[in-house]
Structures are given as C-alpha cells and as structure tokens.
Subunit: 319 residues, 2 copies
DNA sequence: CTGAAAGCGCTTACAG
DNA sequence: CTGAAAGCGCTTACAG
C-alpha cells in the first residue's frame, strides 16, 4: 500500500515549502536554486512521490485528458483510429479516455456528456452518423469530428477524400477491362463514395447493407446470386468486403477470376483475406494527428480533407 | 461555452446552502425536506448543472474510474476484452481509462503507473506476458490480471481453461479420423495450450511464431510447405489461424479437404474466414465481469478459471 | 530565490 | 432538517 505520499511530505523532507516543490516539478513558473532543486528531486525519488493528477486537474482547470468517442471498437477501423489518437495524444503528454458508442445518435450524445463531466479538455468524435451535428454542444467542451465526409456547420471536422478515393478505385477496375463495376455500400443513398464511384464510371448494380461483415455478406449474396452479376465491384468498406468475399466463396465464385473486388479503408485485415484485397487506404495516422492538433487548439481550421491512397493487391486482378 | 455552472450557483438559485445541494445529488448522507429537494432539482435543471467529477474524485478519494491495460487494440480479441470490460464497468457506474501497451513488460509497467497517477480506483491488466508479476505493485493501486493461464502469486488473476479447450479441440480433430494433428503456437514452449494439445492426442509437428496474423502465416508456410505435413492442425489463436489460412491458400491446399483447422479465441473474425473457422471460444464477457467484480472488491478470490467452449464450423470438417 | 496563503469544486463531520 | 467551515492535493499570484 505505501500510504500515499503527498507534496507536503516532499516539502518537509527536503526542508522547503510546498511551492518550491511545485516549481521544480513544473519547471516554473519561478526559478529555483540548483542546490534546492537537487534536494527536492532527491526527496521525490526517495519518497517515491507522484503528483496527484486529479488535484492538478482541479486546480489547473485542465486535465490533460482527451475524450474520444468511437462507434464500435470491434471494427478494426475504429480500433485503428483509437490507437492512432492515443499514440498522437501521448506524444503531447495527453492521455485519452476512450468511449465506444453503439453508433446511435443518442448514445453518442451521452458519451460526449459523460466525457465532458469527466473534465476532459476536448473530445474527438469519430462518428458514423449522417448528421453528427446532433452531438451536444451544451456541454461546453471543444469538439472535433473525425471521419466525416462532409463539412458540418458549427464544428471543426476532418475526413478522407472519399470521393476521390472511390473514383480512383472504380477507374482502376475499369482499367482492367471489366465492363461493369457494381457498388456495395451503406443504406444512405448518394453519399460521397457513391458519387465517386459514379464519377469513376460505375454503372453496375448497387446493393445496400450495414457497414459490417454481415451487411456485406448479405449484400454480396444479393448482388452475385443472380446471373446478371457485374464483373467487378467496389465495396465501400473493408468490413463489408470481408462479407462479400465470404458470399462469393459460398457461391463458388473466384476472386478475381469471376469477380474483381476493391474495398475502402485499408485496415490490416485486408492483407490476410484470400485473396488479399486491393483497397483505398485511409490516412488514419495523419487524420488522428490533425484531429488531436485541432482538439488542442494548435490550429483553427474548420475543415480538412486528407487524401486516400489506392493500395494494389490481388483481388482486383493486379499482382 | 456557457460559463461553467457550479454547485454554488445552484445553491444560490435554490436559496439553500451548498451542503444541501450535495445531499440531494448524492441522496445523502443527510435527509432533505421534500420541498427543498424539489427546489434544488429545479435549479439543477434550469441551470444545467453537472457535478465536476474531478472535484468529487479529489474529495472522495475515489474516481469511479477503472484503468484497463490491453496489449494491442488492433487485435480483435483485445478489442473485445476492452469492449466487455467497458460495458460491465458502465453497468456499475464506472468509466474506464483504456491504455494500449505495446505488449512489452516495461510498457505494461509504465501504463499501470500512468493510470495509477490518474487516480483510477483499480487497474485491470489484460496481459500476454509470460510473467505478468513484473507488473509494478509499488503504485499502490489494486491490480487484477485478466487472461493469465497460470496463477500469479501475489495478484488476483483470471483466465480461461486453456488446457481443457486445447485438449477438446485436438480430440475433436482426431475424432474426425485425421491421423496427425500439428500445433501452431507462440514462441514459449510448454504452455497450457500446448499441454492440452498433447493431452488430447496431438503428436504432429509444432511450428512457433508470434501471436499475430503474420506469425501464423510464417508458421503455416513452414509447417505446410513440406510434404510430410499433418492432416490437421490446432492453432493456438485466431489471429494465427487467419495467417495459416492465408498460407494454405497460397500453397493451394484446401481447407478442410487437405488440412483441417481449429483455432483458439473465438473472435468474430472467425465467422467470416473462408471457410469459417471452428474455434475454442473464450468466455470474454464472463471474464470481464469477473475481473471488474474483483477489481471493485466485490469478491476476493485469488484465482478463477472459466470454461472454454468449442464452436463447430466448417474448417474442421463439420457442417 | 523562497514562503505563507488563497482557492479550484466538491463532501462531510460538526453545530444548531 | 439546514448552514458554516474544514479539507482533499495541488498551483500561483503576492510579498519578501
């Protein structure tokens, strides 16, 4: 147990006031004589003192804690975002309080409230909502939206260039000489990945389903169960692509022999599917970096769009 | 922004002392007259007051925060544990501060220190270390080890019945009539899953590698690249099994036609491999439940072992 | 360069 | 049933 040692203990041991202990720990705001500082550092080491961050937070009005709301940690993409945000924050001396919402607007709302009450300095909301502006702002905590495709009035936000990525993927597929490129995507019509697919020359059928392995599986069954199936397909997320591959497997269709596939996200899982998936990679690390910087007030951009990168592997017919 | 409203504002608005505000918020420790309480609740609603948890934590000496250290959020198994611990804690009114260690002992150590300094009431360490007793205890915070196979002297711990699970998996494979069952597992020799495999009748070759997709891939290439390959294999983790499936695919071997596979963990990913993986499922939810209960001091068991469950799918030759 | 003191927003004995 | 006050462990003007 080692009864909690406090700043007062250190001060007593070093024969100084507690203010001085603060000065050496925080390296300011007042200078401390070399010898005195050494004595204090000694006392800290001997007693094994660690500042109480709760007290610091209360006094400073800043917790050096960042909140991060993600839709679902079970999805590798969100796990990657969580990891990246944590790493980036750590490099700046911040810890992150992670909350996994079940994806609903209400739940997202509640998570922000909880984190805000916890005294986080800001919260990053990695949202899948069509209208993340439902997020509370009454809590008074600075918010930044990570992973939105569109600008969201009133909130700083960042996202990947979904339009460009989808367009490039579709053009690549067409470049292979496949006549039609279908689309597997979420339930909402007309979003950026769909627009990009169309701009890239996509004319094939569209199958909609949840952004999950299961959603992709069902969509894949529908799209490829009929005989007038497309020769290629752009799938708007890795998770769905994994489901599509499973559907294709069950239908006895070969990838890329019978159907070529390109997905979107670029999570590690795509390196280990059979065959490996060609995918549009989101710049997760760079996005996390920008989000943390924005959350900490290091810049004040309202909207940033980062470029995606097409990673070529076997599923499209390359390699 | 809405300048932060404090307990004093509520008291003033309701025309009571701040003590009374506390009494109604915490429903004690002193009784409050009906009418007064109503006035206070009204003031709270009108002003949109939310207690400052930092101040509460400082005063109470308890943060109602649990720390959770996981080896790597990128692995779906750890993500599942993280999710489960969070859900279970939330049901008890606790939030969890999640830290992803890179798996090394030093890093794990440091994470515990950080969380401890954050004033968490306890920390749950989901460790992959052979000797998690390296974990600091000087920090003075209660620790519970989740996912250890062995008892760890001096620390409460819980784990799955890895021996039993591996044994059952191997016996099942042998029951299919496959002559030899190989083993793909981590670098450390003689651990429980290996013992269980042997107890179940495993006599085939052993290939060792990291507990990752890539580690499984390499091990699979080695084991099945030679002509005297086993007819079946027990793989000690889902991630490795995904790698093994990829190796088998590259080698042109059919599953389960040429090689039958059973893995260990039971993460969702195994439902969407081709073919679907038969796997020994860890009772993640139950383990998280037990870990949180132990961390909160609701029981005082030193060691708990929970049963695994064999989930039959196509990769072993069933279905 | 150093110390005594106020105050961050709460909770909880202690009086009344 | 309610109020005035101390104190949780810090930081930071304010004096010296």
């Amino acid at each position: 147990m080692s009864a909690k040692v406090t700043r007062a203990d250190v001060a007593r041991y070093a024969g100084v006031s507690s203010a001085v202990v603060s000065y050496v720990i925080n390296d300011g705001p007042r200078p401390v004589a070399q010898a005195t500082a050494a004595r204090v550092r000694d006392a800290i080491a001997v007693l094994g003192y660690r500042p109480n961050t709760t007290a610091q937070a209360l006094r400073r009005g800043s917790s050096r804690l960042l909140g991060h709301v993600v839709p679902d940690l079970g999805n590798p993409l969100w796990a990657e975002f969580a990891l990246a945000v944590e790493a980036v924050a750590a490099a700046r001396g911040y810890d992150v309080l992670l909350a996994s919402s079940e994806g609903g607007a209400d739940d997202e709302h509640r998570r922000v409230e909880t984190l805000s009450a916890r005294g986080v300095d800001a919260v990053i909301v990695t949202s899948v909502l069509a209208r993340p502006d439902l997020v509370s702002r009454g809590s008074g905590v600075p918010l930044v939206l990570l992973n939105t495709f569109f600008e969201v009035p009133g909130f700083p936000s960042l996202g990947v260039d979904a339009f460009g990525g989808a367009q490039e993927a579709t053009e690549h597929l067409l470049g292979h000489g496949y006549g039609t490129v279908g689309l597997v995507i979420g339930g909402e019509t007309g979003e950026l990945r769909e627009q990009g697919w169309r701009a890239g020359g996509g004319t094939g059928p569209i199958a909609r389903g949840e952004f999950s392995r299961h959603g992709g599986y069902e969509a894949g069954k529908r799209m490829f169960g009929s005989s007038d199936r497309p020769r290629a397909v752009f799938v708007a997320s890795d998770m769905q692509a994994v489901g599509v591959l499973r559907a294709l497997y069950e239908l006895g269709l070969d990838v890329p022999g019978d159907v070529a596939v390109v997905s979107f996200d670029g999570t590690v899982e795509t390196e280990f599917t059979n065959p490996q998936l060609t995918t549009v990679r989101q710049p997760v690390r760079a996005m996390a970096d920008a989000a943390v910087a924005r959350a900490l007030g290091e810049d004040s951009s309202e909207r940033r769009v980062l470029p995606a990168e097409l990673v070529l592997r076997a599923s499209c017919g390359c390699g």
